[in-house]
Symmetry: C3
Subunit: 430 residues, 3 copies
């Protein structure tokens, strides 16, 4: 099961302290590069203008912890990188519990979870911890120590182009800006890495593939600001890859348009992967499709997910881990749903029948020589497929019309091409 | 409550004997003119050709009554103008009950109601009375006296143009040809008068407003025959205003097209005014939309009503009164539904996002500086609205997509315009 | 009841041994010619190339039977032509039961039925018989005698053109290649013959009619290969006529397009003939629409049927007979559904209103002179019809909008034309 390899890679990336900038991101990209040697790591200097935004300062963490009145260290960044508020400024000093409490973040309704908290665009320091741990804190003097740096550095992202026969592109995007959380986000980069491996090894690719690993929001905005023209010209489909690691459900979130090739493929694949998959709406969005599908950008990007961000209790807490939430089986399902979707885009041709009227199948041994009352389903399927080979129905359309998964028809199309009964005619392809 | 002012005006107009021509119409128009001084009263001479029709003779009533064998007067026009058949010819003479009965109209299934009966295009005389009163009539000689006149005069209607920034027009039409009945019709002219007052007082109007008060059918046909070219060129939306005075339900009747701006506005407003509003079909029509939406005329006119004509038991009888059927509260609801609809047409812009990608909201204090698991609904709404500002979604479309009343979004649009994040772009406006 | 005449003609054709070629087809066509003297019988030589196919050899049967060990003749072709495998090669010789059994065809689940079996494109001999009869066969020597001939002859079909005012054509097709079975197929040619009689006798026809009687599949392919250009240019609607003889249900099978004039007519007529009619899908097809609607051919052909082939137990067996399955009443229903459909195509005009606004109906005595609370339904219907006479609604569209059968409106349209209120305007006709 390929999910196990993916899981192993997730374990390697688990402990790294990722944020929107900093060494955690670089380290993550370098580990991905070991599998995908052609991955280009791009550095964008602090202060670069990207549309309405500006690339923020780089952030580095040395150490961070609190010492309680009894001298015991807690909220130690080394123990769990979620303890430190994301983008926390440095601080060192003593204070009483009430003052400290103003800098502590907990979740009352999930008292065992460390919440994930960040403050990218306002200077703050703070710690996150389980509410149960917080409740046990006693009166007295606490010592806070945060050694972090903000400086004019750069923001890093990774980009990999895998060329195909056509300049038309499939765009895959995932993000690498969250510390140790598994379904959101680690499942995304590890599944995308595995997809990159598969794509790079294919003997032939109909389309060119563009894979990016970048910080959410600021990363995708930066990438768009530098590549918009090319993307708008070439990208015919793509997916934002996130939350593909648990084994509880399959989910779909549409592009803003709602009926792009990515949407049609995603709906087809998910329907035949899990008929009870969850369909979300554009208003439920929350990841980089917010940028990719924004007015004027309008890329055909949808999301194929397992359990969506915000829809599972462990989301954005320390409970979103590699033991209970994300599993090899969950990653395997996420990987195959996306791989099947990409495979279908590759195979989604329009065909035309070479003959007028039904061809004489008997001479090709594709029709029973004895005509009786019984109907042969395989023969029916061939004739049904043929009846839609008019240059206006794609493979997805035909599979939907026949109410079968597209992959059940790949051999039929190959056989009909082999018998010289149909030919590809992608002139009507969008 | 503005409904009370409207109700008071209805009381003033109540006793006037309106018909399709005559002094009752003129008197009604003059009273409306007191509120809307710019109202132009137009007289169209008897015999004028209007499309396939001809303006009929003017009709005046002096007095009309019957005296029973015991000398008692009944069916007295002065007591209730519904007693006299509309457009009755003059008559004076004695007759026995059986002969008289041929000229009497009652309702068996509503024995307390005087029915509303007219004979515009065939010469007749007659009286309408409650069936219970009719049943008590005894054998003997009756004296009938009807002093009316038909003569070459004119038909009157009122027209008010309230100019706006654009030559494009909103067309409001109501009718003034029924004697003392409250929901159908008096609620129409009194609500339209109040709307005219509101519109005239607005500091700025995006659109020009055209308000007409005219006899149903012959009046609207006459008006169209004289203004068709202008109306077809300028009118982008409008409403036929009738049955807007009771408090039992809200109703919608579509234009023939069914999906004009008027229809989309009416459905949106009514849905958020009363989710159980009644949706009628074009085949249920029965007022001046029959002319405004007829083939070749095709104006975008729908109807926003309270309880529709023909759908309440008191309809077209003396029971449709200002005590039980029409109330200040009912009028208030009808007025606000229409005013909200007009307000929405004024505000129904198309907006475009000024930035590519989501703008950097934090620097505008439109985004929380601390990112936690909780989602702020106000922030979400702003981002949702922004995501549809692509020049192809109107305010109505966006409100429908977000499943909220448009009025909940007016402030959001204003704020986004104020922050220079979106701009009006009505090029796609129909 | 016209169904009785149709039934009588079916009895005449019943015993003939039809196949895709041979004298049975010719004999059938000659009997049809007695009713339709202008029917042209066309012979296509064996070996003619027709698209991907070739016209097969002609097949003639002299006699065929088996003699059992006790000297008793059974499976006698003269008793039931279904006993002989269609296109059986000649054979004469003795054999034991096990060897014979390899050439016998029965139906386990319908032990009293002789199944219909053919082998057009592979050389075989064989017999079909009831499984109950087969079970009684004893060990011993059997004598098989089959006297048939395959030779270079021709395939026959019939074609009848009935000219109309327009070159645009209605295409009716039925097949004549099955031996003695009643609903599938004999009902088809006999109903089509009766439709031909009716059409030929009409004083005036708006459209030209093309009726073909041909062997299924190879016949329609042959016909298309010789007439494709003309058919594609002229045919605006048509029906494949089959299974129109039983009285159990009505059925509809769409064209591949699904929304041609033929489809809209068929759905309208069937809805008002039997609201519970069965709607099949393109994937349920199985007759000559497979050719007529194939990619690149794309004729607007749907099917109006009684109980569809494959959907009744007697299908393709000796039980599909003229006693139980097909009845005069069943044929009558099939005939009228098709005739009503053709009649509707003839009458399916687009009309435009001659006046702007509603016309003044009172002066034409089309409106009650006394206006009361009651609504006259006939008047309403006239006004409703008029309101849709805008040149964009066909008679079918208007009938669908009014939710009435089109035939209920024919008089209304005639009256409105007679009053010079509407005029035909077929410019928008597809």
């Amino acid at each position: 099961m390929i999910g196990e390899q993916i899981y192993n890679f997730a374990e390697q990336l688990w402990g790294i302290n990722r944020s929107i900038t900093g060494n955690g991101v670089r380290q993550t990209l370098q580990l991905i590069q070991r599998h995908l040697p052609n991955l280009k790591i791009v550095e964008v200097p602090t202060g670069s203008k990207v549309f309405d935004w500006e690339v923020p300062q780089e952030w580095c963490v040395d150490e961070a912890y609190i010492i309680d009145p009894e001298g015991k260290k807690f909220c130690d960044f080394k123990q769990n990188n979620l303890h430190l508020l994301g983008y926390s400024i440095p601080f060192a000093g003593y204070m009483e519990l009430p003052e400290l409490t103003e800098h502590l973040y907990t979740l009352l309704d999930q008292p065992d979870a460390i919440p994930y908290v960040t403050s990218y665009y306002e200077k703050r320091w703070g710690f996150a911890l389980a509410h149960n741990e917080f409740s046990r804190l006693k009166k007295g003097k606490y010592y806070v120590f945060i050694s972090t740096k903000h400086f004019h550095g750069s923001m890093s992202y990774g980009e990999l182009i895998i060329p195909g026969n056509s300049k038309s592109e499939i765009f895959l995007s995932t993000y690498i800006c969250h510390p140790s959380m598994a379904n959101n986000e680690l499942s995304g980069p590890v599944v995308q890495t595995q997809l990159g491996l598969w794509l790079a090894r294919l003997k032939e690719r109909r389309y060119t593939y563009r894979l990016v690993f970048l910080p959410e929001t600021i990363g995708s905005i930066t990438y768009l600001s530098r590549n918009l023209k090319t993307l708008k010209k070439n990208v015919i489909a793509g997916f934002n890859i996130t939350c593909v690691g648990d084994d509880r459900s399959y989910s779909y979130l549409p592009s803003r348009n709602g009926d792009t090739l990515s949407d049609r493929v995603a709906k087809h694949i998910l329907h035949w992967t899990d008929p009870n998959y969850r369909k979300f709406a554009w208003l439920d969005r929350g990841s980089d499709e917010r940028q990719y599908c924004s007015p004027g950008v309008d890329l055909p990007i949808s999301s194929i997910m397992r359990t969506k961000y915000g829809e599972y209790p462990e989301y954005h807490t320390s409970l979103d881990d590699l033991n209970l939430v994300v599993t090899a089986k969950g990653l395997n399902g996420g990987y195959w749903a996306l791989r099947n979707a990409i495979d279908l885009i590759e195979k989604n041709h329009f065909y035309v029948s070479i003959n007028l009227c039904e061809p004489f199948m008997s001479k090709r041994n594709l029709y029973p020589s004895l005509s009786t009352k019984k109907i042969d389903n395989d023969v029916n399927r061939i004739m049904d497929v043929l009846s839609y080979c008019d240059g206006f129905h794609s493979v997805i359309d035909i599979a939907n019309n026949l109410n079968v998964p597209a992959w059940d028809l790949y051999k039929t199309f190959d056989k009909l091409v082999g018998e010289n009964l149909i030919a590809k005619d992608d002139a009507n392809q969008i």
